[in-house]
């Protein structure tokens, strides 16, 4: 592949077609057929074994059928966009695929691919990648080029925002409950606080104690919460992986997420305790000690 | 059992299993309460006075011994039957009042009547009468938080009398009150007794105990001595 000025590139050509698996045999019948790889799901569904010879064709009537040997099995790269699709697929050499799919009446179809993937040597710079895509588009106006790093329209950015919105709502709801619990706890300590105020302990000292206690409890609670989430993640992943027969990871508690959770939980916990205690401390001392 | 007898306790023992070893709170106690009796039980803290009161009041069940209330063996009754006795035949007054904080004085007194199925008109009349009895008609709509300690205890006494019990049990009723207020409560108990309700009082307050017709001392779970002229037995 000729490189564009300013960019070093390597590429791959991919073509995707719907082929038909017509038959499989477990012995070579003629000269060595070409090798293919099949997905784990296809291997299981068609009861294939490595070494089996299969016949692939362009349609169910056997158009341009060719025989191939199952040389290996692969686990399809999990595709979040297609995780619910049963991955019945195989990988062929491009030449072999085109021999089956090319329409003899259309010479151009023997040289047609679906996608050309280009790996740039300076791929870490998104601006540079986009610039390459634009330059390529300008040179090949009838071919659509885009940078795969353009994240604005990515489905997963949307899903990420969706999950973040749900998380925010959950935090708001649980903050309300936490405040309610803290109010109850503060009420339980009404007399104790009243006695402390009676003997001259300042509001500031009492609030400091409340904040420190709240901080310790909030840190412990947040840590336990992260541990519970880490435990739940394996259940969630196992459930969805079994449900959709995929190796896709649906949930991952990364260090960043754990820290973010703690960073939200601790201030909320401390603040809830402090607010509840402050509503108590605002009252007069006599009101606190009175039954 | 005679017609005048309300509660008869025979050889009551109550043992509490504790992690450090069982504790015998009441040891082989016997007593008999008749209509018109007014008994004060005194003794050092932890001697089992409150436990004895709970046993007499069908709040707790003895480890051994029997309690007979108006001829019925309390040990043979179901929990709901015991509850019914507490509701309609016994009144409780607690040291810490235990009024429901979200109900007014009127509503606190009305509550046991409502539970006993007294019709609304009857409840109104009885509640009004009881508030007058304890001289708190002007505080009928006040919440407990708006009442003084003495006023709260008077409401508690009125509540205990709501269903015209045969027996009033009071556990340190002046324990949280000052002397003067305690005196008012003591006077109230005198009136209650004069009006025909039998009273068992557990108290440290010597002045209050002195107003009772009978006095018993309790030590280490056992009843000691007794006022022989009342016919009380204490072992």
């Amino acid at each position: 592949m000729r490189s564009l000025p300013g960019f070093g590139a390597r590429g791959s050509l991919l073509a995707g077609w719907l082929l038909v698996l017509l038959a499989s045999t477990s012995a070579f019948a003629d000269s060595a057929p070409a090798d293919i790889l099949v997905s784990r799901q296809l291997l299981a569904k068609a009861h294939l074994s490595i070494g089996d010879v299969v016949t692939l064709a362009a349609d169910s009537s056997g158009t341009r059928a060719r025989r191939f040997r199952v040389a290996g099995v692969y686990e399809p790269t999990p595709d979040p966009m297609r995780f619910n699709v049963e991955r019945i697929e195989a990988r062929l050499h491009l030449d072999d695929l085109l021999q089956i799919t090319a329409d003899p009446a259309n010479p151009a179809s023997a040289d047609a691919v679906s996608v050309i993937n280009v790996g740039l040597q300076n791929a870490s710079d998104p601006a540079s990648v986009r610039s390459f895509a634009r330059t390529l588009s300008a040179r090949t106006p009838f071919i659509y080029s885009e940078s795969t790093r353009d994240s604005d329209n990515y489905t997963f950015v949307v899903i990420d925002r969706f999950h973040a919105a749900i998380a925010a709502v959950t935090v708001i709801g649980s903050t309300a409950f936490l405040l309610a619990l803290m109010v109850i706890r503060a009420e339980e300590r009404k007399e104790t606080v009243g006695v402390l105020r009676l003997i001259g302990i300042s509001r500031k000292t009492i609030m400091t104690e409340v904040v420190v206690e709240g901080l310790l409890v909030a840190i412990a609670g947040a840590a336990v919460g992260v541990l519970i989430a880490a435990g739940a993640q394996s259940s969630v992943n196992r459930f969805f992986q079994a449900r959709y027969d995929t190796t896709l990871i649906f949930m991952r508690i990364s260090a960043r997420i754990a820290l973010r959770s703690i960073a939200v939980a601790v201030p909320v916990g401390v603040a809830a305790g402090a607010v509840a205690s402050w509503t108590l401390l605002r009252r007069g001392t006599s009101a606190l000690v009175r039954r | 059992m005679t017609a005048a007898e309300i509660v008869v306790a025979k050889n009551l023992t109550r043992v509490f299993p504790m992690s450090a070893g069982p504790v015998t709170a009441v040891r082989d106690a016997s007593l008999r309460m008749e209509r018109g009796d007014y008994l004060a039980i005194g003794g050092p803290s932890g001697c089992g006075k409150s436990t004895l009161l709970h046993l007499l009041g069908c709040v707790d069940t003895p480890t051994s011994g029997t309690v007979t209330f108006e001829g019925r063996d309390v040990g043979a009754l179901s929990d709901s039957e015991r509850g019914r006795i507490r509701l309609t035949r016994i009144g409780f007054v607690f040291q810490r009042f235990f009024l429901l904080p979200m109900l007014t004085a009127w509503e606190n007194i009305e509550l046991p009547q409502s539970e006993a199925g007294v019709p609304a008109a009857g409840r109104r009349e009885r509640t009004r009468a009881l508030l007058e009895y304890v001289e708190l008609s002007h505080r009928a709509d006040h919440l407990p938080s708006q009442l003084s300690g003495g006023e709260m205890q008077r409401v508690a006494v009125a509540r205990a009398l709501a269903n015209r019990p045969a027996l009033l049990l009071a556990d340190e009723p002046t324990g949280e009150l000052d002397e003067e207020t305690g005196e008012h409560i003591a006077a109230l108990f005198d009136r209650v007794h004069a009006d025909g309700t039998a009273i068992v009082l557990v108290t440290h307050n010597a002045a209050l105990a002195a107003r009772a017709k009978q006095r018993l001392a309790m030590r280490s779970g056992a009843l000691e001595g007794g006022a022989r002229d009342s016919g009380l037995d204490a072992r």
Binding site: L18, F83, N84, V85, A108, P141, F142, Y144, N153, T155, V158, I159, R161, F162, A165, I166, V169, T170, I172, G173, S174, A176, F177, A180, L181, V183, I184, E187, E188, V236, F240, R243, T279 | S50, H54, G57, V59, D60, S80, G83, I85, R86, L87, I90, G91, F92, F94, Q95, R96, F98, L100, P101, M102, L103, E107, L111, P112, S114, E115, D171
Partner: protein
Amino acid sequence: MTAFALAWRTARRYRARAVLAVVGVAVIGALNFDMLLLSHGLMLSFADLINSTGYDIRIAGGTGLALSRTPLDNSTALMNEIAALPQVEAVAAMRTADAVIGKGRGAQQAELIGSSDAGGLGIWKPVSGADLSAPPNGAVAPAVISRPLSDLLHLTPGAVFTLRARIGDSLSAMPAVSLRVAGVAEFPFESQQAAIVATTMEGFRAAHGGVLNDQATFMFARSRRSAGPDAAAAAINRLRPDVHAFSNEQVIANFGRNAFTYFRQISIVLSTTTGVFSFLLVATLLTVSVNQRLGEVAALRALGIARRRIAATLLWESALLVGIGGLFALPLGELLALVLDRILRGMPGLPSGLHFFVFEPRSLALHAAVLAATALVAAMYPVWLAVKLPIAQTLRQEVVS
């Protein structure tokens, strides 16, 4: 005083915690309600979308997938055969191609649709102007364009623009053709910002240099009322076993099985999670509240108040918190659904007429059922605590503490 009245008084007495608990239930309940809306929302929305068009049968070629875009060969003959069926009232075909409007740096990519039916059989909804039935102005074919394209290029009905089709598997450049904007429309089956140009088949052919094979990308039909879509689809399948005719109902069912199952799954997971969450929160709150009032409860039991009344009071307390919170959860949930729907509709390529959160009475009934179950189950442990507490021991502890 009834148990409900006691519970109400308790909530009023402890106003702060009651209000906070209601707020908590309302927020979590709103999320739960939204997850119920999400569980069927896409299906309902897609069904609304597809049933709002003027057709009730979709004809597909190739593999027989209802939503596939495998071209249908000899489409003219196929259309005529289908139109001749007594069960079929109307047939329309469409085909699509990529196109470019303008040139150079200002060139705008667009999707070109050729339609045999002037109104597109209801695929697009007119906003202004007319449909494709307007007579061509000389050699200039009419076009209906999407609103985003109209806004982008400031094209209004009557404007003329040039367009060049792009053929994916050909190295030839197509000639630029002029089209006249007959109308502006919403294309609910296309993404929100999609640039669409729909024209007649003649216009589509002209954009391809006058040479076009007899293929259709989509073919739709409308059944006669007397026959119904199922009978008409069956008749088409009998007539032409090489194609696959689906009624809208079958297409919707297919969509429901295959499309966006992630959201159905996530709605189940989140509904369950929020349900458990609500239960835990309400149960914790009630338990702590009961623990704080054990002395009161013991005194009531000592006074002879029956266990069932105490249990009923606590159940009513739970019902009040969850019930009032659940009521507030509805408008809050609708508001949240608008926000979440807006977020999710930002997904690339999503039909603009599709919504994720769609109200149905079933969701309301489920929401109420979940709340009722939450209130009941959350109260169980606190009720158990209250009715089982040892009266004498509790009274003693209250005095000592």
